[in-house]
Amino acid sequence: METSIIISGYGGQGILFAGSLLCHAAVIEGKNTTWIPSYGAEMRGGAANCSVNISDDEISSPVIDKADVLFALNLPSELKFEHRIKPGGLMLLNTSLVKKIPERHDIEYLNMKLNDMAEELEKPAFANVIAVGAFVEKTKILSTESLKQALKEMTAGKKQHLLSANLKSLECGINYIKSSAKVSL
């Protein structure tokens, strides 16, 4: 199975890192994966996005036309990419920043106040990693163990001091889905 994911937001929200985290975890599980960043004149506060494919088979096109999943971490992302989600797809919407009412009825919305959730955690905490944790727990596209392993690898060396905050953020996203599943039961 192949899953195409677009992650989009402001530069500085950790958009590229979130995509890269999924890719690293996919590699740990022996899956094929591709990651393309938007690159160039982007800067903190400007638009940033990346395209991630995860598949058990060979990935032909790394370029995503219609995505299975969109992470919209700000309003411009929702406006730009909402129509590019496949019917039956999923949009993870950061409702801390996006107040607009979603327009599509043929996709599933996962609304999360990511910034607020990060604020409530002991600092530092990362909204992007919370989003990844929630997404993976919800879809089971990867195991949360591989994500933790990936975070360890990605923060090895100079960024070691950021590992615990990343793991805490990841757990926060995972627990959000677990607890909301209980509520709906």
Partner: protein, 355 residues
């Protein structure tokens, strides 16, 4: 060995290091600056040479200098930077100096933009230098292939004493994918017969691109073109996907070919007999291979991110065996597999299906 996640530009640089590249000379330009950045980090630690040159002219000239000594050397740049190197590339072909050039294409003409494009096919394959010459051009579609072709580029460059260009594009340079490096798989040719290694205890040599005596240049021209004939015969690389029974064959190179492969798979699912012919070596062009493949097809669709450049080589190779159509987009815009599939479907309906 387990695969590891690498960014295209950095993988290209690491592959060069594995291939034994002793010298990197370059000037930064998007979308390939990470190659120089990576080399700047690693080469000095290995006791090898890294120089940020003052310009692209200087970079390629330094490659010539290193190449004349039989040293494995490279430069990398993008579209408008490669434009500045053309005179030197012609000189390298004439003086038979090895060297590897990585070209990571961006939008053009002019300074263009920094998006991924394929408008430098002519620049790579035809070249803008003077005289009769060819650069050997290799075109990867995945990061794994970029690594394998970097190894091959260094090997071919020394073997045939000719510049070899790796023609990639912005997406390939910027994307990440799991890869395996493996070991440099080639046994390189002995350079001691021609390299300028100091004339102690042997007669002096020179490697020049000026040949004034009557008839001398003609001999050289014949000799280097004999090399290109041998390269075409012995070193040719093509990738064919589902072409055997295909009614419609797509020709494409690089990242576009990869997206086209996805379109071919979708077309097959829809019951259309479509295949993909991807030249991996773009120069010399796989004329024979394409002609043989085209003979059994009803139509060729050439897809490129430009206004139709490889199209000319495709048409010349197909030589009327079947009609050749074109789908292109330039200026940095991408073609998605959906757009390709639309064109494929329209053409497929036009040719009808053989009973």
């Amino acid at each position: 060995m387990a695969k590891v996640l690498w960014k295209g530009n950095q993988a290209i640089a690491q592959a060069a290091i594995n291939a034994g590249c002793q010298c990197y000379f370059g000037y930064p330009i998007t979308p390939q600056s990470e190659i120089g950045e990576y080399m700047g980090d690693k080469l000095p630690l290995l006791g090898r040479t890294f120089i940020t040159a003052e310009s692209e002219l200087a970079s390629i000239s330094m490659v010539i200098g290193a190449g004349t000594t039989g040293t494995k050397a490279m430069t990398s740049s993008s579209s408008c930077g490669i434009a500045l190197m053309q005179e030197a590339i012609s000189a390298m072909c004439c003086a038979e100096v090895p060297g590897v050039i990585v070209s990571v294409m961006r939008g053009g003409p002019g300074l263009g933009n920094i998006a991924s494009a394929q408008g430098d096919y002519f620049q790579a394959v035809r070249g803008g230098g003077n005289g009769d010459y060819k650069t050997i051009v290799l075109s990867p579609a995945t990061i794994q292939e970029a690594i394998d072709l970097m190894y091959r580029a260094f090997h071919l460059s020394l073997k045939y004493r000719n510049p070899v260009m790796l023609l990639a594009d912005g997406i390939l340079g910027q994307m990440m994918e799991p890869v395996e490096f493996g070991e440099y798989p080639y046994k390189d040719d002995d350079v001691s017969k021609w390299a300028l290694s100091g004339a102690k205890e042997r007669p002096p040599r020179n490697l020049v691109s000026l040949h004034m005596p009557d008839g001398e240049l003609e001999k050289i021209s014949d000799r280097i073109f004999e090399k290109y004939r041998i390269v075409a015969e012995k070193e040719m690389l093509v990738d064919k996907f589902m072409t055997d029974d295909a009614e419609l064959i797509i020709t494409a190179f690089g990242t576009t070919a990869r997206i086209a492969k996805s379109a071919v798979k979708k077309a097959r699912k829809a019951g259309m007999k479509v295949g993909l012919f991807r030249p991996v070596m773009l120069s010399p062009f796989p004329e024979k291979e394409l002609f043989e493949t085209a003979k059994t097809a009803r139509m060729i669709l050439d897809i490129e991110l430009n206004q139709g450049q490889m199209l000319q080589d495709v048409k010349a190779s197909v030589f009327g065996a079947c009609p050749v159509e074109f789908l292109g987009r330039s200026g940095g815009g991408l073609l998605t597999d959906t757009q390709m599939l639309e064109k494929i479907t329209a053409l497929y309906n036009k040719i009808g299906v053989r009973v």
